[in-house]
Each structure stands twice: as C-alpha cells, then as structure tokens.
C-alpha cells in the first residue's frame, strides 16, 4: 500500500541514489544522447525534495502531485514530462487504489501516452512495463529490475535522441531505463513491497 510516509521515504532514497549516480547517468547519456540525464534527474530530485519539504500534512494525492509538478518544472529534458506524467497519473488513481501494482500500471500508461514509446523501443518503458507485470505475477524484485534495465542494452532505439543513431545505439544501456531502475529499487528499499 502506498502511503504518504512510504512515498516520502522512497523519495529520500531516490534522491540519494540519483545524487550518487548522477555522473554515471550522464555518462550513459553521452554516446546515445546529449549527456545530461544525470544533471536533469538531479535537478528533478532537488525540486522534489524542496517542494515536499514545504507540504504540511499532505494527502497522498497532494504528495504525488507535488512530486509530479517538481519533476515537470525542473528536469528540462524528455525525462521530465515522462516521470512527471507518471506521478500525475498515480495521483489521479490513488483515490481508487493505493496498490503499487495498480498505481504503477496507471503511471506506465501515462508514460506510453506521453512519449509514444512501445516495449522494445529502448526507453524507460522497457523497465516500467516488465516491472508492472512483475508486480502482478509476483516476480517483482531487485533481480527482475536489474534484468529489465540490462535488456535495453541490445535494443535498437526507436524513440528519443538515441533513435537518430538507429542500429548504432545497440550495445549501450538506456539512461532513462537506468534511472527508472533506481526508482523501483529505492521503492523496494523504502519498504514498498515486502
């Protein structure tokens, strides 16, 4: 069950992870992108931290919306509207259910609609889609997430900046897949799913 407490803890751990892996994320974004994914995500989680700190006794919906707006306004790159939409969709859904599987499924639909990417296009969708499925069939976990991230390495990019390179994008991990991997791993670390 997603709660305000869990969400805050999750965002703290996600912040720490992005802060630690910032350079690595930008490095992944260099051969197949513009080399800014780490900086973009860092700006995003800085914004999330600041705006969550300002909330007094928020509801879960307010918390998720606040995260969304911070990511939308601070990230600057493609990942901003994508992660932002993901949290917006969770905020919309959370009155109905607080089940992670259901909330992340709504988020995934939002990401797909916003970016038009399908599974196999070498984007963050290739982490979100199998992870949402894993939450339903019980295979969700660190191993499963790492495998989803790794699967993007051999894919040909069809969306985003990497798509300009076509087949030459093969052999590189997708940076947004990696940051999405961090998002789910820190969700587990925060106690999201036992």
């Amino acid at each position: 069950m997603l709660t305000v407490e869990l969400t805050k803890k999750w965002m703290e751990l996600f912040y720490a992870q992005i802060d630690q892996e910032k350079a690595y994320l930008s490095e992944l974004d260099t051969p197949i992108g513009d080399g800014d994914h780490g900086n973009n995500m860092k700006r995003g989680v800085d914004g999330v931290k600041d705006s969550l700190a300002k909330l007094k006794d928020p509801t879960l919906k307010e918390t998720l919306r606040t995260i969304a707006m911070a990511l939308i306004s601070k990230v600057g790159g493609a990942s901003g509207p994508l992660y932002g939409t993901a949290f917006l969709e969770m905020a919309k859904k959370c009155d109905e259910s607080q089940e992670p599987a259901i909330l992340f499924a709504a988020a995934l639909e939002g990401i797909k609609k916003r970016g038009g990417a399908k599974e196999g296009d070498k984007t963050m969708v290739d982490v979100w889609a199998p992870t949402v499925k894993a939450l339903t069939d019980g295979s969700f976990g660190t191993e499963q997430i790492k495998q989803a991230v790794a699967s993007t390495k051999e894919m040909i990019a069809r969306k985003g900046r990497a798509s300009y390179l076509g087949e030459r994008s093969v052999g590189h991990l997708d940076p947004g897949a990696m940051s999405s991997g961090y998002l789910f791993e820190t969700f587990i670390a925060a106690g999201g799913v036992k």
């Binding site: 939308i72 306004s73 601070k74 493609a78 509207p81 970016g115 969306k159």
Partner: protein
C-alpha cells in the same frame, strides 16, 4: 488588426525560440507570435511552465504550435493540458512549418488550407 490565430514557437535553445519570430514577423506583421525557449534556468531544454506562459502571452485565443525535438513536444502537450487556449500542435519542420503558417495566416488563409500546406513539411 491582430489575426485570430497566433503562433507559438518552442525550442530547446532560447536564441532559436526568440529568433524565429524575427523571421516570421517580416512576413506576418499582424500575426501574434510568442515563444518559449530553454529551461526555467535558461539552459538548453524545455519547460512546460514557460510554454504555458507563451500561450497566455499570445494575444490570439487559438494557437498553432511548432517545436524542435521530441521532448519539447511532450512538454508542449503537458502545457496544452494545463492551458485553456485552443492549441494545434504540428509535427513539421520547426522553422519551415512556422514560416509557412505565418505567411498564410497573414493572408487570411483558412486553417484547413494552411494544414494542407503544412502536411508535406511533416517530418517528425
């Protein structure tokens, strides 16, 4: 006598976003032109909030929007959801699409015809 339909330019780079209206205003003196370029911090990137501001600053109630790269499109779509204005988004070449639209709006060509002329410029 400002035209009923305006144009909004969205680019990752502030200079590009500001420069295209300079090109357009030469052929479209009566078309309202606004733009959003760069992140809120003025770096290379786009910002949904800046785009909403560009919508609101535009004197026209109906807008034609043009963008450079895919991530600008996503922020444009978010901005459209946040705004009350009627915005048409085109996947054309940024500069060439906007120039064509500006020329035709100035000549009071109806939108359906403008869209026909934009169709071959769709490259995204």
């Amino acid at each position: 006598m400002t035209k009923k339909i305006g144009i909004v330019i969205v680019s990752h780079v502030p200079e590009i976003a500001a420069g295209i209206p300079r090109l357009l205003e030469q052929v479209a003196a009566d078309v309202a032109l606004t733009f959003a370029g760069g992140t809120d911090a003025g770096e290379v990137g786009t910002s949904a909030t800046k785009i909403v501001t560009a919508f609101e600053q535009n004197e026209a109630a109906e807008l034609l929007a043009f963008y450079d790269l895919g991530s600008a499109k996503m922020n444009l779509e978010l901005a459209i959801e946040m705004s009350d204005k009627k915005v048409h988004l085109y996947d054309t070449a940024l500069l060439e699409g906007a120039y064509t639209a500006a020329t035709l709006l100035q000549a009071d060509v109806p939108l359906t015809e403008i869209e026909k002329q934009l169709a071959p410029l769709k490259i995204k």
